[in-house]
Subunit: 352 residues, 2 copies
């Protein structure tokens, strides 16, 4: 079966490619068709377990209810789903405020889904969205429901408007609100090089993350623009957390041939890394310069105050919510909105 042209159709073996029917949903969810109808029209009359199975089956099959049932379930909810990879990450606080205040102004509420690396949780919210329990969704997790970050797998059939925020989703035909991560990382790298640093370590984000891919490209761009060679030995694995910054610091402390500057691709990593360097008796920036990325609240008050790239977090949240509201209200939205970043020079970076 050639599924190139039918990526959004059900793929059950032996089933001719056609629109999914309520029977397909019932079979997959192992319930009656009456239960499927009830789960859509009067969800409170169906057990939470059965409802979850039905919602999941709807997302998997791409089932769209018939017009009558559809009217029932397509009543506007005035709710928007915000999909986060990690709600405990303080980076998102101001972004969420920007989203919430803009949605509120337009009469929409905000439902949060914190994926926390759980495929079950993601499947649940995919089904929740596919079933029209919200009017639209803002994705901060870097991929469409049902797909990997690399775009593998068939996306869940979602008929409501979606917007991607911060982590772009390559190939997805939805508005994407972001910063130019590559240009920003190149700028910071060139700033370090301009101060005489020739040995610049790079502490990465999680592998596969599009922000990491873009910032890494920017790091290499910045080295090239500064006439510096790229040395894979100066790459240190991180995942944007304080803890991974502390581990990166341990890696640097034990090196014979220490870099003179470290570019951490998140402020949390930079703050964790500085902690480890201090504990090892090193001075910042005298012994080693440290740069961050994001400009979270704690960057300006860190000791020493952190040189970093400012992301306009509240404005990013506002822009994503505005783009979604445009779609919800039948207007069009630009497919790509890029907000400006700023190189913020403080005390953690010094000339060599």
């Amino acid at each position: 079966m050639d599924d190139i042209g039918h990526k959004d159709r059900p793929e059950h073996e032996g089933i001719v490619v056609r629109a999914a029917r309520i029977q397909d949903v019932a079979k997959l969810a192992d319930v009656s068709t009456a239960t499927v109808s009830r789960a859509l029209a009067t969800p409170e009359r169906v057990s939470p377990e059965a409802r979850a199975r039905v919602l999941e089956a709807i997302a998997k099959t791409g089932y769209v209810p018939n017009p009558a049932a559809r009217t029932l379930r397509s009543q506007k909810t005035y709710m928007v789903l915000v999909v986060l990879p990690d709600l405990a990450n303080t980076f998102f606080s101001k972004i969420l405020r920007g989203i919430e205040e803009t949605l509120f102004e337009a009469g929409y509420g905000m439902i949060i889904s914190d994926l926390d690396g759980s495929p079950e949780k993601e499947a649940h919210f995919a089904a929740f969205t596919a079933a029209g329990r919200v009017d639209g969704a803002i994705l901060l997790n870097g991929h469409l429901f049902g797909q990997s970050r690399e775009g593998e797998g068939n996306p869940a059939r979602i008929t409501i408007p979606l917007v991607a925020l911060c982590e772009g989703i390559p190939g997805a035909d939805i508005p994407q609100i972001e910063i130019d991560n590559r240009a920003a990382a190149s700028r910071m790298t060139q700033h370090l090089a301009s101060l005489g640093h020739r040995s610049i370590a790079y502490v990465s984000g999680p592998p596969g993350n599009i922000l990491e891919r873009e910032r890494f490209q920017g790091f290499k761009d910045g080295l090239a623009a500064s006439g510096l060679p790229f040395d894979p030995g100066l790459l240190i694995a991180g995942d944007y957390t304080i803890e991974s910054g502390m581990r990166a610091g341990q890696d640097i402390v034990v090196r014979q041939d220490r870099p003179t500057a470290v570019f951490c691709t998140s402020d949390e990593m930079a703050i964790g890394l500085m902690r480890t360097l201090f504990s090892a008796g090193l001075s910042i920036p005298t012994d080693i310069s440290v740069a961050g990325f994001d400009d979270i609240e704690f960057a300006a008050v860190a000791e020493p105050a952190l040189t970093t790239i400012r992301q306009p977090r509240r404005e990013l949240g506002q822009a994503a919510a505005s783009a979604l509201i445009d779609l919800l209200q039948g207007r069009s939205s630009p497919k790509r909105i890029r907000l400006e970043t700023e190189l913020v020079i403080r005390d953690s970076v010094a000339p060599l």
Copy 2:
């Protein structure tokens, strides 16, 4: 009109105290009674503006729809509202994760309302809750809808379960999940005194905030238990933010007779205050000891690492969600749940 015994009844002048009727709502909202009915049964057929006015009027009058309409609107939503004073405050990140994960396990979604000091926004969410748009709510804002923090005013008539988290609500007959702020603040004060400090400054939270009232009592308890006099000259006004900590630092720097220790009642204030002291050339803890409260992620990696009180934030969120789920599922819940705190001794406090 004596309203002592009728605190939850409508208070329109000249109206005899009785249950509010749909006509009262229609009059107050300046719409027809048919519009009130539609706003409850088929909200998508009413303009957002009219809907907002109706919801507001419902909350103000305490109107409870008749049984038929009530059934329509009392369909379970499987949604819980979480009311925050400030979503941008990173203190809440882990608490929200604890709430969300526990709600999700039980099949409930989480809607966030970020009050941001806006009375209009609060009125909207009061009405939203009163109209049964969610099954329950967790209040982190220190007061019931319609009342001040001091318990003044009539609370909105909310018939769904409510739970208070972190900021207790004195007199409210709902489960309250909190730490013992007074005991924790007393413990920190005694710790500072035990190291020989006799002149201990106190940087407060916002006036009227119950956390502030309790921690301030604890500070005075701790002084008394240590045989130290209370000196109002050592009180410095703050509001839990980094910025207010920086301002408190400026106050301390210019004093002739500087305190030897400062107890900041949030880590964000302690981190801001240390920044200002450093900028003025003071060393911590050599010249002055600094203690915090909360143990946010950045406390352990601050320079110097911050001595503080650990609040179990994720567990607080989990406990509040569990208490609410108990009520939603018809079980009872203890009226007061207190989680343990911990004195975390790091490097920012030293013996005199």
